[in-house]
């Protein structure tokens, strides 16, 4: 008896939409290869109807998620980090294949991603102190500015950092109460689709994160033009596409995060300290005037 006797059990990668794992509405798939061109798996090739369903899911989840206490959101995100920790080996293997790096380097990136998730989780009940204020005004009023989540955020995930880059764009959006529709890296979607399985088992309400795999050029335009999407993060959009999407996004005055020069860089760009910028740019400031009483 040799080891060949055991049949290989191949994984069917599926989308993560509204807390469920559907196939693409279009029934299409495409071949995903590692950095050297060897076949890894078939991933769903999403269509604009998957975009539509994902936005519906995200919108439905927005009320409860943004209404949950900051403390509760933080706890849930810690829980996600705990689940990620338990599947480090799987993610390290997927990142090694996706990013084309050594096992050691891949493990370092996964660790960095988990640490980043924890770091953002900590921000949930602190961001209001940084972004909010008690404003001095010329009258007997309390004048308080508080940050509120923008709403449904469409994210084109970075193309060349399949896991660390992905975590670095999802976590800052959801920690403040936004819900997201993520278009995973077209070339390397598998870590993103596996992340969906982690999110589904870690108390995160269904629909807070929706993950689609497919072509950014196909899924970007309907997302950018969608009237029910409030912001779009173009981290993974190549130059020309980013311009086109920004133009489409202007129709309903979406907030747009333009791609930064390093966003699509290969290598360890995403290892750098992220800062609070990405988190703060997906917040709206609400200011209330309240009479002081006596």
């Amino acid at each position: 008896m040799s080891t060949v006797d055991r049949l290989s059990v191949l994984k069917t990668y599926k989308l993560f939409v509204g807390g469920k794992f559907p196939r693409s509405e279009s029934r299409r798939v495409y071949e995903v290869t590692d950095a050297k061109g060897a076949w890894l798996a078939n991933a769903p090739l999403s269509s604009r109807k998957d975009v539509r369903d994902a936005v519906v899911g995200a919108r439905k989840a927005f009320g409860p998620w943004s209404g949950a206490t900051a403390y509760n959101r933080g706890q849930i995100l810690y829980r996600v980090a705990e689940m990620l920790e338990g599947r480090r080996e799987q993610f390290a293997a997927e990142v090694a294949a996706a990013d084309g790096v050594s096992a050691k380097k891949a493990a370092a990136r996964v660790d960095a991603a988990i640490d980043r998730w924890v770091w953002y989780a900590g921000w949930s009940d602190k961001v209001a102190q940084v972004a909010g204020a008690a404003n001095p005004v010329a009258g007997p009023y309390f004048n308080l500015s508080t940050p509120e989540p923008t709403g449904v955020v469409a994210v084109l995930a970075p193309t060349d950092s399949a896991f660390l880059g992905l975590v670095s764009v999802i976590a800052p959006a959801i920690v403040t109460g936004n819900t997201v529709v993520v278009v995973a890296s077209e070339r390397a979607p598998l870590p993103a689709l596996s992340l969906g399985e982690v999110l589904a088992t870690s108390d995160l309400p269904g629909g807070v994160v929706n993950i689609l795999s497919g072509r950014a050029a196909e899924l970007g335009p309907p997302l950018a033009a969608h009237q029910d999407v409030n912001a779009i993060d173009l981290a993974g959009a190549p130059g020309e596409l980013a311009v086109e999407l920004e133009r489409a996004a202007a129709d309903n005055l979406k907030r747009v995060l333009r791609p930064q020069p390093g966003d699509t860089a290969k290598g360890d760009h995403w290892l750098a300290d992220p800062g609070t910028e990405r988190m703060l740019s997906l917040l709206e400031t609400k200011t209330v005037w309240h009479p002081m009483g006596v």
């Binding site: 033009a225 969608h226 029910d228």
Partner: protein, 362 residues
């Protein structure tokens, strides 16, 4: 000749009586010119069927003589028709048609005159050039408000009555409820049948009740508000347990003079489903083939998306044909459906997916 014999056979099967009756109806069924259920001619034709409704026993024999429903076949047929792909210009047509068939409904304990007026305004002008809805559906005490809100627009006012939704009240109370709504200016009355009587087999009681309510819908000749209010009979199919019962209830209501038959109140767990609606459409088709009387159908409750609505339109077209594809003969009882139809309409005209921020909250 073959079709004639087929028709006679069908009548014989439906009535469960022997040849002499079949021959008596043969004259009727070979000339089924179509007449609307609310006209005088329809009443005359129903009167000629009086022997099936002559006594409790005859009515029971008739209803239990109706062929049993093939549940698996019915489900499969409804599912198959639900897979039709309706796109582009056909979809645009279907959406506008569906909007014009909506009975925009608010039946909450918390209804206020303001809410009813807002609903009326929305029904008359849903926005972006969409056609007005068919009717506003309210509780009887809101009829006057609704009447005022949609005055002169062609949008009808429908009112539920007869102790909606349970229907558990004495007949005089139900009739008073109905007369009240009619006097306040309702164009249409949605009554609920007494499911308790129906399920315990007291068909005659249900029959007489529908007849009595229909009489209560009448207005004095030359009345300012027009002719008699049209009567929609609600079966609450979710409580009737079996498809056979739905078929029996359909025939019972049509024999009693219903202008419309309606699936549900929207107040119980199971509301309109495609198979139940298909079954009722088939009953209407058979009734029309037998008597020539045209009766309308209204599925209500649980229809929330454009996709669902278009599926129902396909059912209507495939079962009854184009003649029923108008707001006079097919309605949707819905409240949130209209918003989805409007969003789909925006998507078709702009190419961009719309969202709930772009339609009214009601």
């Amino acid at each position: 000749m073959r079709t004639l014999r087929y028709r006679i056979e069908k009548v014989r099967r439906f009535t469960g009586v022997t040849g002499c009756y079949a021959r008596r109806y043969a004259r009727l069924v070979t000339m089924p010119t179509t007449v609307p259920a609310y006209g005088d001619e329809a009443a005359r034709r129903l009167a000629s069927l009086a022997d099936v409704t002559a006594s409790d026993g005859a009515l029971r024999r008739f209803l239990h003589g109706l062929p049993g429903v093939d549940a698996v076949g019915l489900d499969a047929r409804a599912a198959t028709l639900g897979t039709r792909s309706i796109k582009t210009s056909a979809k645009a047509y279907a959406i506008d048609l569906a909007i014009s068939m909506v009975d925009l409904t608010t039946l909450e304990g918390a209804d206020t005159p303001g809410k009813v007026r807002a609903l009326g305004a929305k029904g008359m002008r849903p926005g972006d050039g969409a056609p007005p809805v068919a009717a506003i559906c309210v509780y009887p005490d809101m009829v006057a408000t609704a009447r005022q809100a949609v005055a002169g627009s062609g949008v009808k006012v429908a009112s539920v009555a007869t102790a909606f939704p349970a229907g558990r009240a004495a007949l005089p109370v139900k009739l008073a409820d109905t007369r009240d709504a009619v006097a306040a200016g309702a164009d249409e009355i949605d009554m609920v049948i007494d499911r308790g009587a129906f399920l315990s087999g007291r068909y005659m009681e249900v029959f007489e009740e529908i007849r009595a309510v229909k009489q209560a819908c009448a207005r004095p000749v030359g009345s300012e508000a027009g002719n008699a209010a049209h009567l929609k009979v609600i079966f609450e199919t979710g409580e009737l347990q079996t498809y056979d019962n739905v078929r029996r209830a359909s025939w019972l209501a049509m024999l009693a003079g219903a202008d419309f038959i309606k699936t549900s109140t929207g107040k119980v767990a199971v509301n309109a489903t495609p198979p139940v609606t298909l079954l009722m459409l088939e009953a209407v088709r058979d009734f029309h083939a037998t008597t020539g009387v045209q009766v309308g159908v209204k599925p209500a409750g649980g229809i929330r998306t454009t996709k669902d609505a278009v599926k129902y339109l396909v059912l209507v077209n495939e079962t009854l044909g184009e003649r029923w594809l108008s707001a006079d003969w097919f309605r949707f009882g819905a409240s949130s459906l209209l918003n989805d139809l409007l969003m789909q309409r925006q998507k078709l005209s702009t190419g961009r997916y719309s969202g709930p921020d772009y339609v009214t909250v009601d």
